[in-house]
Symmetry: C2
Subunit: 558 residues, 2 copies
């Protein structure tokens, strides 16, 4: 390690890489039997791989806002994709810049600006402050949320797509080459074969691999780093392996049906299921992933997308090594949530089984402080909100724990064993979904909470439903819902106790820190507020001298 | 009633009057045996008196921020005097102006601006938006927080005091006539007798009654109303009967020791008290109020201050009647918290006995809709945050219940019996106090929660303490803490269940309403997000036509 890195305040940069919808167990370092990801493994071998990292909401937008604010979804309020994060809510950008570290975005955030709130405060998106408010606190090198779907009512995302502009400039003849090339193949008859349709997942995307989304974003990341002045934090945020599930050659046929594991599902899960889980098992996405032919087409494509991500990570690592940046760049690899891929009879994410709520988290810290843990794994219960606290310390600051609810992971990177949380929390707001309608709930009641203590996992559902409970020690696959019977009352009560404690957490007293409070105590008496004196003998003269002495006579009205 | 008021959208004004530290039972309409308050009683006789109205935090600043935001202290975060309310947090001003009603301040708010947050967003206090952010959303006719204490470290409140400026202009020869005249008497030898000292509470304040704080603010209120364009809400916010306990003639000797009730306290309260309650019983304020000589000097002054408030309310009512404004002015009389006055061995407020957390609440609605309830009392469990929701309806709007956590009181004013809350909540953050130090707590653990269901009152204390429990049916004086034994386990558990439910409340999803969510559902599919198709046959053609048809060949690199 370079000596320049002995002091925690040394100019360390942070490469905060997020892959969208990457399952925790689809990496070879995490034990995948068929998918070889040497570059992820290489970072893990020189850093720490956290094996119990959980997102605070298993849905893109809400999860990302937790990463970026270091706060729970119920604390920042952006509980679903496209629910704007309230103006003034502080993010990584605020906390890192305060400590002299720039904070840039290269890729996706899925963040929506609080336009009404900005207007209420007179903030223009054209101003620097307004632009940061509109971009979740990041300065934008490039923003591309990577979902350029188009339907009868227009585009899902009405922002300009830098990626689509790139493809057009490269000569792809379409108004939406993202849909027509990057995420579509071609039928034998020459027709467009949309990647939205699982039947096409085994076709190669109709695009040069070099022009596909993952390599394009990698080049954007390198061009940012090339010119960036240390210290910086770059959030390099890939859309893949998120659906549409289609990938260009040669990745489209690297994997086949023989590489697709059996679905982790059990008939008992469909017997008297929890009503919310039941509603999800009945939805269209689940129905599709319950088909073996779908899994056998989709999962090889998903694996190909991850393999491409791994190769592109290799490109990034080569660049960092070539330019001597491995010595002062912390590398963080993670995801915003997983993907059921048919496990538990489900597709997509949303609920709290490990396949959905657990994410990969690998941190490489070049600093000598981390030499003791290179190649180690850490089983501590980690939350995605811990990264914000960690990054502030990397920037040389002290995490503002009256705002950031996560805990710094630095002790784990140093090989220490700090006092640590007893449980992890996650939340899911499904008020926007057909399941909310199907269950006849008001939006405010369509909320789920997960409490997991490392062994028992409780799901609480608002709206008057019973909970779900799994014992991951005796039932690691989470097939047997112990809340169906009464045998687990004591565990359920214990985890509800954790949930209640969490519900009383201090999370909005954001304008005064614990240190501020300690420093402010007792000041009012020295500023003349003395609401307890009988005759003044109770306090030193200096506190009351302003109230003593001869009083002027009352004047007549002048 | 005037016909102009048949439609709820008619131009009603709101006179929202707050008295600081006015106990719920120190009014003749509330049954006080010696204190005659005909003007309060008159408003009660033509309106509704709510007999179970509770503040959401029994301390000035935090309680007021709850009134002004319509949100719990844990939701807005301004949990102690001088803890700034975060920039962008919406208040009455935002909600009423959105519905065409002006919102003005005449008097005290105790609000501190989030200067850091405003700077972060580039908001100048000189701009209209900035000024409102700095004044809790009010436009200021006059702001005077009324605590111009002065000590070795300077003034408690460094703002300019319009009241002090008034006294100086009237010729009171002092740099701080608030302290030297309005809140001080004179010793026989001519020395200043500070109102901070209870020994002086029976002396007349050294000021013309006309120039004292309450009449001065009444004149300010009238001058505002005289020029105001309807519809308006005016928060007329008196500092009195808040300490210093001293009042000008003739109010200083209207009441004597013979009008001072026995302290409501019981020896059993001092036997093995709850540690937090014990720490409060041991503090200096409590020690003072445990002295009968203090109570006999202070309480008559407190009663005199209230009598003066009642007379000045009479002046206001005369003005409204004389100018025909009683027909389109809703009048609300309330307080931010009570005053122990020695009851329960305590002084001041802060804890959750009725003397501290229950407040007077009288609402006169001139509208015909309220004719059925004139002179009635209402025993419903009311929270101070209900006023914000009520006022929005008076302005002709619909309360934004994704932001405001209170419930409109309008159904009660109409004589209806709506579905209503099963319990009231209150909170107290004592992290700034000597009690926090004495108990060896970190600031974040110095927090109390009250849950009251109309019969049982639970106090939960963070920091690992046992709870307190009172049964107000069998023990209306709240002498017997049932949580000392195990007999009340089931009631304690039930109330803890309410607290847990409250802890999971939806309170930060402020950028999307329930209606927004219902309206937004299903939009993504019509905007081309189709993550569940096998071959497209699952959905109408119009949803996927953008993804069909002949695909252009891939171009060569140009």
């Amino acid at each position: 390690m370079s000596d320049m890195l002995d002091a925690p305040s040394a100019q360390m940069n942070i490469l905060f890489i997020m892959y969208d919808q990457l399952r925790y167990d689809y990496l070879s370092c995490a034990g995948h039997p068929h998918l070889h990801t040497p570059n992820f493994d290489k970072v893990a071998a020189s850093g720490v791989r956290f094996t119990n990292a959980y997102v605070q909401s298993p849905i893109c937008g809400a999860s990302r806002m937790c990463f970026y604010t270091g706060r729970y979804a119920s604390s920042h309020g952006a509980q679903w994709n496209g629910f704007p994060i309230r103006v003034g809510e502080q993010t990584l950008g605020d906390h890192l810049r305060r400590n002299g570290m720039a904070c840039w975005l290269v890729g996706k955030t899925h963040m929506k600006a609080d336009v009404d709130g900005m207007e209420r405060l007179g903030l223009s998106p054209d101003s620097l402050i307004g632009a940061r408010q509109a971009e979740c606190g990041f300065d934008c090198w490039i923003r591309d949320d990577g979902l350029w779907g188009e339907g009868p009512d227009g585009f899902y995302d009405e922002k300009r797509s830098p990626y689509n502009e790139y493809l057009k400039a490269e000569g792809y003849p379409s108004q939406n080459p993202w849909a027509d090339f990057a995420n579509a193949g071609i039928e034998d008859n020459g027709d467009l074969a949309s990647g939205w349709m699982f039947a096409n997942a085994d076709k190669p995307a109709n695009i040069r691999e070099h022009d596909s989304e993952t390599p394009w974003l990698t080049r954007q990341a390198i061009s940012f780093i090339e010119q960036a002045e240390s210290p910086w934090c770059a959030h390099v945020s890939y859309i893949k392996p998120h659906w549409p599930y289609i990938v260009p050659a040669p990745y489209h046929d690297m994997f086949g049906a023989n590489h697709v594991p059996q679905a982790l599902r059990h008939e008992i899960e469909r017997e008297d299921p929890h009503p919310v889980y039941g509603a999800y098992m009945d939805n269209r996405i689940a129905a599709a992933f319950q088909r073996d032919d779908v899994r056998q087409k989709v999962i090889p494509a998903y694996m190909g997308l991850i393999k491409q991500c791994d190769d592109q990570l290799g490109v990034l690592l080569d660049y960092l090594e070539r330019t001597g940046r491995m010595q002062n760049t912390m590398i963080v690899l993670t995801s915003d949530h997983g993907d059921y891929l048919g496990d538990h009879w489900l597709g997509e994410k949303d609920l709290f089984h490990e396949q959905s709520v657990k994410v990969p988290l690998i941190i490489y810290d070049p600093h000598v402080r981390a030499d003791a843990t290179r190649g180690a794994t850490c089983e501590a219960l980690v939350e995605s909100i811990d990264l914000a606290a960690t990054f502030v310390e990397v920037a040389g600051g002290k995490a503002p724990y009256h705002i950031i609810e996560g805990k710094s992971l630095m002790p784990w990177l140093k090989g220490e064993t700090p006092d640590w949380r007893k449980f992890v929390m996650s939340e899911f707001d499904y008020s926007m979904t057909p399941q909310c309608l199907k269950l006849g709930l008001e939006p405010r009641d369509a909320r789920l909470f997960m409490v997991f203590d490392g062994r028992y996992k409780l799901m609480h559902a608002e709206g008057g439903f019973r909970p779900m409970l799994f014992d991951l020690k005796t039932d690691p696959e989470e097939f047997h819902d112990l809340a169906k019977g009464d045998d687990s009352r004591s565990e359920i009560d214990r985890l509800y106790g954790y949930l209640a404690m969490w519900g009383r957490r201090l999370c909005q007293r954001v304008t005064r820190s614990e240190d501020d409070i300690k420093a402010m105590r007792g000041r009012s008496a020295r500023r003349g507020i003395l609401p307890f004196l009988f005759d003044g003998s109770e306090v030193p003269d200096e506190l009351i001298e302003k109230y003593r002495g001869r009083a002027p006579q009352r004047p007549l009205k002048t």
